[in-house]
Structure formats: C-alpha cells, structure tokens
Symmetry: C2
Subunit: 212 residues, 2 copies
C-alpha cells in the first residue's frame, strides 16, 4: 500500500484526484492540506508517506520554495508538482528544486497513475507535452537548450529590482554600489539572455523562471 499526500488549496482539484484514485487499491490518500504550513505539519505526521502531489500556486507559501524545503526534509519522498500553466520557467525551476515530476491539472486519470508509477521507479516524469513546450520556448529565445543561462545571485537581485521599475542609479543607491557595477551586471545579463533592452530582458527572464 503506497501512501499519498495532496497539498492543494482548490477543493475541486483535491476531490477530483481522490476520485481518480479511489479504484486503485494499492494507492491510498492519507491526508490533504490546503496551505504550505498545513502541508508541512501533515508530512511530519506521516513519515512513511511515499508520494506527495504539490500544487505550485499556493496561497500562503511560494510553492517552489516549499518544494525545496520538502526535498531537504524528506530526501526520499517523491514530489510531483501540480500547476495549471505549462511554462518552461516553472517546469525547469521545479526540477531544479528537487521535484520528481510535473503534472498539468488538466491531466487524465491514466497520466496521473503513470506519473506516480514512474516517479516511484526513480524516474522523472514530465507532463505530456511539457518537454516540447520547454524546447519551443527556449528556441523562441534563441537559447541553446543544453545550456540554459544561469544568473548569479547578484544578477538576480539586480534583475528583481529592475523588475520593480528602478533605474540603474536607484539600484546603485539601494545597494550602496557604483552605478558602473549595476550597468555591468545588466550588460552581462543582456548578453546571457541574448536580448538588447531591459524590457526584453525582464520578459525573457520571466519565461525562463529566473525571476521570482
């Protein structure tokens, strides 16, 4: 008997998944939570749980952070992320943060069962079509799929401030740095993401999941 936990704030989704799985006698949903906090509490109650279905768009916590947190606390737990959007950025971020799989909420019963079995066997399961979607988005940005550009900590920090509408000068003041430094970082990011102005930089970064 394999124990499952669902963390999703939408009762519709939680109920729907329960319905999908009720005929599978080898699977058992032991508990479900509506918030990140609640989810962590439940996890500690069921240490023998093997699979968790984790909604990424949670109300209280950032689902991606929560994913990372759970991975650290329970290294052997299989985490399957649930989202309603199919975007390269979110998918790659989730895998990077320790998820074993990724499902869109419009999945069919068969796909859900298949995903659970795959991750239990140690594979990474990506939602039907997710692979193609990722590659297509990377192509649109003219980026080599084999080396998605990584931004450094400082670059991300500056990117986020740019995203808040600040100018180089304002960021420099905020971080007590020279404006030259900010400009250099911005320039490097433009080059990494292959764009030529700040709006395009922010948009591309968003798509790749380098923001937020």
């Amino acid at each position: 008997m394999i124990k499952l936990i669902i963390i999703d704030d939408h009762p519709l989704v939680a109920d729907g998944i329960a319905t999908m799985l009720k005929d599978e006698s080898y699977l058992q949903i032991v508990a479900s939570a509506k918030t990140g906090r609640q989810g962590l509490a439940i996890l500690s109650e069921y240490p023998d749980c093997e699979v968790i279905l984790l909604d990424i768009n949670l109300p209280d916590t950032d689902g991606l952070q929560l994913c990372e947190q759970i991975r650290q606390l329970y290294p052997n737990l299989k985490i399957i992320g649930l989202t309603s959007v199919n975007e390269a950025g979110i998918i790659s971020q989730m895998i990077r943060r320790g998820a074993n799989g990724y499902l869109l909420k419009d999945m069919e019963k068969e796909e859900l069962l298949h995903a659970i079995n795959r991750v239990l066997d140690g594979h990474v399961y990506l939602s039907k079509g997710a692979n193609e979607k990722i590659l297509q988005q990377l192509r649109e940005l003219d980026i080599n799929p084999h080396q998605v550009p990584m931004l450094t900590r400082r670059e991300k920090e500056i990117l986020s401030l740019l995203d808040q509408g600040l100018s180089s000068q304002e960021i420099a003041s905020r971080l007590s740095l020279s404006i030259h430094t900010i400009d250099t970082h911005r320039k490097n990011m433009l080059q990494k993401l292959n764009v030529h102005n700040t709006p395009a930089l922010l948009k591309a970064a968003g798509k790749l999941g380098l923001l937020g």
Copy 2:
C-alpha cells in the same frame, strides 16, 4: 429549471462543479466543453441555456476573446468567468468584455450557488476578496480607482510592440511612423500610468489588464 453549461479544459474542475451542483434540483448542467471551439458549438445546440461557467485559461482560444464573442452572440446569457488567479487586470478585462461574474477556482459550494443566483438576478458578482484585491493593486500603482486610465487603440498597439522588446525606432519603422510619434505615445502612456520607465510601464499595464 435553469440550464448551465461549463467550458473548462480541466476535467477535475468540471467534475467538481458538477458534484457541487448535483443536489440543487433547480439547476441542471446540460453540457460541458473542453475547448473554446467546442464550447461555441455546444452553445448553439442549447439556445435556452441561461448561465455559462467559462474558464479563462483555455488551451486553444484566448478566454477573454471568447467571452466577448459569446456576449455578442448571446446578449442575455449570463457569463461567469473562472480563473485560478486573482488579478486586477484579468478581472477588470473580463467585466469589460461582458462577463457577469467572476469566480476563483478555489471557491466553496456556497459561493458558487450565490454567484449563480446573483447574476441571474441581473447583478455582477465578483469573487470573494476580488474587490479588495483590485483596489489594493490600484493603490499600489497610485491610480485613482474611480478612473482607471484607458489607453487608445494606437497606444495599445505601441505598448504591445514595446512588450515584444522593440525600440521606438523599430516600432516607427514597423508602423511607418515618425519616431517622434512613437515617443509621444510612449510618453503619454508613462504619464497615464504614473510610471517613469518602459519596464515599469509594461508591468503596470499588465496588472491593469491593458496588455494582451
């Protein structure tokens, strides 16, 4: 007996709503569709349908456009939008395009029933908390809630090109206009939305639903 139609690509959601309504004898779900195309077909089959629950994040069509289209075809039909995100832009756009109501997918049964009754009575029903969320977002942008700035057709066109990462010069070439004209439009938009650079303009416009 009031007839309902559901357009939502997530079987979970469609099933969940059906479950919520199954005890209400005065409501009847006559059909459901998974795509925009399919939805229009079904609507033409049931001209006496009174309420439609419409997912905004559809796979094939833009849900907002579809909403507008349905409103034109069936002026008396009550349209309730369904989304999983609670953002001022999307909400205001939906209402602008003819929706009678707006529900988050994490609603409870009571809220769903209440919303249906309200729109049948001719009211506009906004999801619990949607109002506060809208006002808060407008406050963040320092915009008077009583006069959300409208952009002209031309301004929107230029905004969309800016969003694609084009410079003023590139837009001018694309539209066969003087760069001065583009700059003037951009300047006017900056003023209308109360921001001081293009990234912030794009972000604010996105939040207000003036983009896309």
